[in-house]
């Protein structure tokens, strides 16, 4: 076994990455960037970024310009039509397909990834909300504010109909408080467990009383709102929803929880230490909890490209399914997006139906007996085509030849893993398909 020695770091743990002999800009790191920050990349995109270097590559991702192929000309209009049809039905499986379509074909994979991250942070399930229109609305809000200062997102969520239904806010009335929203607001959305007491939860619930549905809109009904003075986290005032949000946003624990959330999303097991999280939290505080700043800082950092971060994450079902289709350029004809969403559900990530308010726990919990078998089956299905709604099987030789790699048995390992093996021989179609299935279902292909 190879032992990794982590260099003792002094100075800024978020110092930018500049390629050097120890950490060269190579295919492995290009693949890493796209699998972590987007949903994998095509061969052409990888080669382009390999040539252009990290700065240009990272900027393109941040600006939503990382994809050079596979984006339909009418993407935005078509995506909207898909969502509209999901609402008209109404049909949650079409809404899932809409989101998968956005991840697969949209120009801005980083934004979709961040939307997914916030879906896990403010985890709301249509299982209880039972309203496709409100779930879409929440999703659009998460998307539009995914890189904003966190305060904007938090305040929007505290008025988001789906979230409020999910956490029983309409039942939270002056004199009959329901603590569900107050508790999750503190424990999951802002502070994290620890810095508050049970009494703080009770008092926060009072501050959040009075929100009620008028049609599909949420309004504060003064007669249902507790306007009394409360003491929360040692501060006494007549708190309302925004006042409580301001108090929580100001608390240093919130910046730490956000730093944890971002690191949890973009780093592998053990790839960041306490000091780095603390430094990122400090930076967020200095930048008005600006998530965009945090993302850019992380993606540009040396820490992000450190060996200790390469391949140290378990690919989520979305990473695995969308990333595979994307890297193999299965754009035209493309697999059925409702079927892809269904595969993700079977593998443990049912979009719009997180398992509970804590979101998907992620990491090693993605791998269960059922999902491990499911991933192997997906590998076979996507190459065969028939179980993902395609009439034809995937042709590995054709894709390799298209990129002038027809004689390179390492082509698929390079494309998918940024590594030189395992090899996929490209001499005969049958064996090359089998080898590709084997590669896709290998342990290495489950990590990003």
């Amino acid at each position: 076994m190879r032992l990794l020695t982590v260099r003792p770091r002094s100075g800024d743990p978020w110092a930018p990455y500049v390629p050097d002999e120890e950490m060269p800009w190579n295919l492995r790191r290009v693949v890493h960037l796209h699998r972590r920050a987007g949903f994998a990349a095509t061969w052409e995109e990888l080669q382009r970024d390999l040539k252009d270097g990290p700065e240009a590559s990272i900027n393109r991702l941040l600006e939503g310009k990382s994809r050079s192929c596979g984006i339909p000309a009418d993407f935005a209009a078509f995506a909207d039509r898909l969502a509209d049809r999901a609402l008209a039905a109404p049909d949650s499986s079409r809404l899932k397909a809409w989101w998968v379509y956005r991840m697969l074909f949209g120009p801005d994979p980083l934004t979709e990834r961040l939307t997914l991250m916030w879906h896990g942070h403010f985890a709301t399930s249509n299982g209880k909300v039972n309203n496709v229109a409100l779930m879409r609305r929440q999703n659009e809000t998460l998307r539009s504010l995914c890189r904003a200062p966190f305060g904007s997102l938090l305040r929007a969520m505290l008025r988001d109909p789906a979230l409020l239904i999910w956490l029983d806010a309409p039942d939270n009335i002056r004199g009959q408080p329901n603590e569900n929203l107050a508790r999750e607001l503190m424990e999951l959305f802002t502070l994290g467990s620890g810095p508050y007491s049970e009494d703080d939860v009770k008092q926060a619930a009072r501050a959040l009383t009075g929100w009620r549905f008028v049609g599909d809109e949420v309004r504060l009904i003064p007669s249902r709102h507790d306007q009394g003075t409360t003491t929360i986290l040692g501060r006494t005032a007549a708190f309302d929803s925004d006042g409580l949000a301001a108090l929580l946003l100001d608390h240093p624990a919130t910046s730490r929880r956000l730093a944890w959330r971002l690191c949890h999303e973009f780093f592998g097991e053990g790839a960041v230490d306490e000091r780095a999280v603390e430094a990122l939290a400090g930076g967020l505080r200095a930048h008005d909890l600006d998530i965009g700043w945090g993302i850019a800082t992380m993606l540009r950092s040396r820490l992000f490209f450190d060996v200790a971060n390469l391949g140290r994450r378990i690919a989520s079902p979305i990473d695995y399914v969308v990333g595979t289709v994307r890297a193999l350029e299965m754009f035209d004809p493309a697999p059925s997006t409702p079927v892809l969403a269904e595969w993700c559900r079977g593998l443990g990530q049912d979009l719009f139906y997180p398992p509970n308010v804590g979101g998907w726990p992620g990491g090693r919990s993605w791998i269960t007996t059922r999902s491990a078998i499911g991933r192997t089956n997906f590998a076979a299905a996507v190459v065969d085509g028939s179980h993902v709604g395609l009439g034809t099987s995937f042709d590995p030789i054709e894709l390799a030849a298209h990129h002038g790699q027809g004689r390179n048995p390492s082509f698929f390992a390079q494309l998918l893993l940024g590594a030189d093996g395992p090899e996929v021989p490209l001499d005969a179609l049958g064996p090359s398909r089998q080898a590709l299935v084997r590669l896709l279902s290998s342990p290495d292909a489950q990590r990003i």
Binding site: M1, R2, L4, G127, K128, D168, D171, Q176, N178, N180, G268, E269, G311, R312, I314, G346, P355, N356, V357, G358, P361, R364, S365, I367, T368, T369, R370, A372, I373, G374, T376, N377, A379, A380, A381, H387, A419, G421, P422, Q434, V437, R438, S441, S442, P443, D444, Q446, R447
Partner: protein, 397 residues
């Protein structure tokens, strides 16, 4: 004839998996010692009914008085003791009782009972009486919130059936799921079984975890396939509940780490013409249960399994004008398995000493839950049940 053990051993020998086993101590230990499931870890199977009318207090003078058209002839009843009997359709439950595998707790309910299906089921599933506490989480899910995760990453609780997991098994942190067919555990690519998994160059902890998990998964798939192929599998009757219990038994035999299986049997809401509708349901229940427990006994797994059968309420004591019964309050809870203390636990509530025409509740349902959480699954029960409830002496040490 090829036994399951031979089949599996041969399958493994033929595959290249075995060649990689030396790098995988956990896998090696498991397969070396048993080509079958692990023997530890107690399992609870919950069968949820919607309304029940099952245990007959035939000696109670109120029985003849209130059940004019629905009264069951005494000579066909299946005796439990001198006072109480089981419905004639429950012959197999009678056999379970005879063999010491059935316990009956009569009069189970909660204070100020609700006769609404929705509310009452929410109370039973959440173990919370106040409607404001019905937040979609349940007693099993909350119980696992405080327990360790499962050994193999399987969901702690699994609904067996076509629906979504019910709130009873949903937790704030613990994982629940639903499963209706075994297809999810079958490898569609025939070559997958014999595929080398160890091509990973990464020898780090995460790489080892992935290799071990994939091997474990393939081994489970292998076992389930072998179980499915095996002839002479225990005979189950042709009922939907039996199908689900058979599927549950397969998962248990394959060594899945899931600790609670939740099943539902509907149709008990017999507001009208109860006699011809009720008997087949009880027959389905009791025959399916017995087949399940016999199947597990043959596989030497029965000692690890306890079945809890409940419904959200009993029926009104007096029958209605449609030869049926309306929603009532207290009802019996059944516990089945070789580790129960068999027989009737406590007196059946009197049919002549009623509250608003309904039976008096004599046992709080949360005491039954406390019994299975603490004494069977070894979980803390206070948080799960929203208070401290004493377990009942329903199980052997």
């Amino acid at each position: 004839m090829i036994t399951r053990r031979c089949f599996l051993a041969r399958g493994l020998r033929d595959s290249t998996l075995i060649a990689l086993a030396p790098t995988l101590p956990g896998f090696l230990a498991r397969t070396a010692h048993a080509a079958g499931p692990e023997q530890d870890g107690r399992i609870l199977v919950v069968v949820q009914l919607d309304g029940i009318n099952t245990v007959v207090p035939f000696r109670d003078e109120g029985y003849a008085k209130y059940r004019k058209t629905l009264r069951l002839p005494e000579k066909r009843l299946i005796p439990v003791n001198g006072e109480v009997s089981l419905h004639p359709a429950m012959r197999d439950a009678g056999k379970l009782l005879e063999s010491g595998r059935l316990a009956i707790v009569p009069g189970v309910g909660y204070p100020n009972p609700s006769r609404s299906h929705f509310r009452s089921m929410a109370i039973w599933q959440s173990a919370r009486l106040d409607e404001r506490d019905h937040t979609g989480l349940g007693w099993v899910g909350r119980g696992f919130d405080e327990g360790p995760p499962t050994r193999d990453g399987s969901p702690a609780a699994l609904l067996i059936g076509p629906d979504d997991p019910p709130s009873a098994i949903r937790g704030r942190r613990s994982v629940s799921a639903a499963l209706d067919r075994l297809d999810d555990y079958a490898l569609i690519d025939k070559e997958a079984e014999s595929r080398p998994i160890g091509s990973s160059s990464a020898g780090d902890d995460l790489g080892q975890f992935l290799r071990r998990s994939l091997l474990d998964a393939f081994t489970t798939a292998d076992r389930l396939k072998a179980l499915g192929d095996a002839r002479g599998d225990a005979a189950y009757p042709e009922f939907e509940l039996a199908r689900r219990l058979k599927l549950t038994a397969r998962l248990i035999k394959a060594g899945m780490g899931t600790r609670v299986y939740y099943l539902e049997q509907g149709g008990y809401d017999t507001h009208g013409t109860q006699l011809p509708h009720h008997a087949p349901l009880l027959e389905e229940l009791s025959r399916s249960l017995r087949a399940f427990l016999d199947d597990l006994a043959a596989a030497r797994l029965a000692d690890r399994v306890l079945v809890l059968v409940f419904s959200e309420f009993g029926r009104r004591v007096a029958e209605n004008g449609s030869k049926g019964t309306d929603h009532g309050t207290a009802g019996p809870v059944l516990l089945a398995g070789p580790r129960v203390r068999p027989g009737l636990h406590g007196a059946y509530p009197s049919l002549t000493d009623l509250v608003d025409d309904d039976l008096k509740v004599t046992v709080d349902f949360r005491r039954v839950y406390a019994t299975v959480l603490k004494n069977w699954l070894g979980l803390a029960s206070t948080e799960a049940l929203g208070g401290a409830f004493d377990p009942l002496p329903l199980l052997h040490g």
